[in-house]
């Protein structure tokens, strides 16, 4: 039932949203837990349990109405609400992310790009002029940024993180291998390529156990 949605469920919602978008695009009006489950690679029971946290969205004996369900999932994720994003650290990675998040189809509004390197500040990246790190707090407040993408070198990550939080950011996506400390009420997700490869490396250490 509707209530505190489990973290594991939240992590799967974006996958459901994408599957629903694809169905909508194909003009499909009604779907089933079976179909959605195979599209997203989870079990049908899990899918039904996940959706039930968002309330009752289907019709017994019939299935789910694609557009209605899409709306519920999007609403839960805050997709459509305006949540401006600031990207800090415009190296190769920050550059790539800026381009990706400003390409057509992206539902996020990248409000500003920030970097500390004087050679980068003032250049135009993905249609935005890079601003100086010195003005970070000011930029966050000016744009009302709620989310931030952190793509700085590891050494300054915690410090930048602190300033983002201080300026009012409530969610941070960090591309660093270090655990960032944040106060209650702020959410951090970290994703680091090297760490991910190490996790894969664990499974590929040995020849297939078949």
């Amino acid at each position: 039932m509707t209530g505190p949605v489990p973290a594991a469920t939240v992590a799967r919602l974006p996958g459901y949203l994408r599957a629903l978008d694809e169905l909508a695009e194909r003009g499909v009006e009604t779907t089933s837990s079976e179909e959605l489950a195979t599209m997203t690679g989870v079990g049908p029971a899990q899918l039904r349990r996940d959706l039930s946290w968002l309330g009752s969205n289907g019709v017994r004996g019939v299935g789910y109405e694609v557009l209605r369900l899409r709306g519920r999932v999007a609403e839960a994720l805050g997709v459509g609400a305006d949540q401006p994003v600031v990207i800090v650290g415009i190296g190769h990675l920050g550059h790539a992310l800026a381009g990706y998040l400003r390409s057509e189809g992206s539902t996020y509004r990248v409000a500003a790009l920030v970097d500390a390197d004087p050679d980068v500040v003032g250049t135009t990246v993905a249609g935005l002029v890079v601003e100086h790190d010195r003005h970070l707090a000011e930029v966050v407040r000016r744009e009302g940024a709620v989310l931030a993408v952190l793509a700085t070198p590891v050494g300054v990550a915690q410090e930048v993180c602190d300033r983002l939080v201080e300026a009012g950011v409530r969610g941070i996506l960090a591309f660093t291998p270090v655990a960032l400390r944040v106060p209650q009420g702020v959410t951090v997700r970290s994703s680091d390529v090297a760490s991910e490869l190490q996790i894969l490396g664990f499974h590929t250490r040995l020849p297939p156990p078949r």
Copy 2:
């Protein structure tokens, strides 16, 4: 005890490895579950339970010897074993990842870069000449690539994934929002910026519940 290491534990090992590297660099010879736990943001009990899956690595009443423990964790993750990586899709993101994984300090050997765009094929990126997608299988076999990074457009991700697996890749890190289907024995981890922002968006939908 030593045995089938839980997936949740494996996902934390890279963090422990990094913390141990930092201690080693600072010349610290001995540490405790308390210290490692605060460095990595987990609880001391969890840290001890995690490490116990790799065997008995500490000394009661004393703590853990940094270098010895580092060795055990690195070994478990296959760090140090030569696991060549192929990067497929040399757009902005693939370019950034190639640079990152070939920078000093990286323990991974990027063996080849592959793309389908004739304007990109033949160019030099991060010191490597980009090869044509047509030769993907050949490149994987030639280099003995065990791991692959998938940074192609969504539309071709599953197809490229199939060919990577067919050619012998055993672990795939995919930067796409779709669930990739792979046979038993192959591991996939997916990380997509838009999905991550949506997950953060869930938590920031509402004003702080303080």
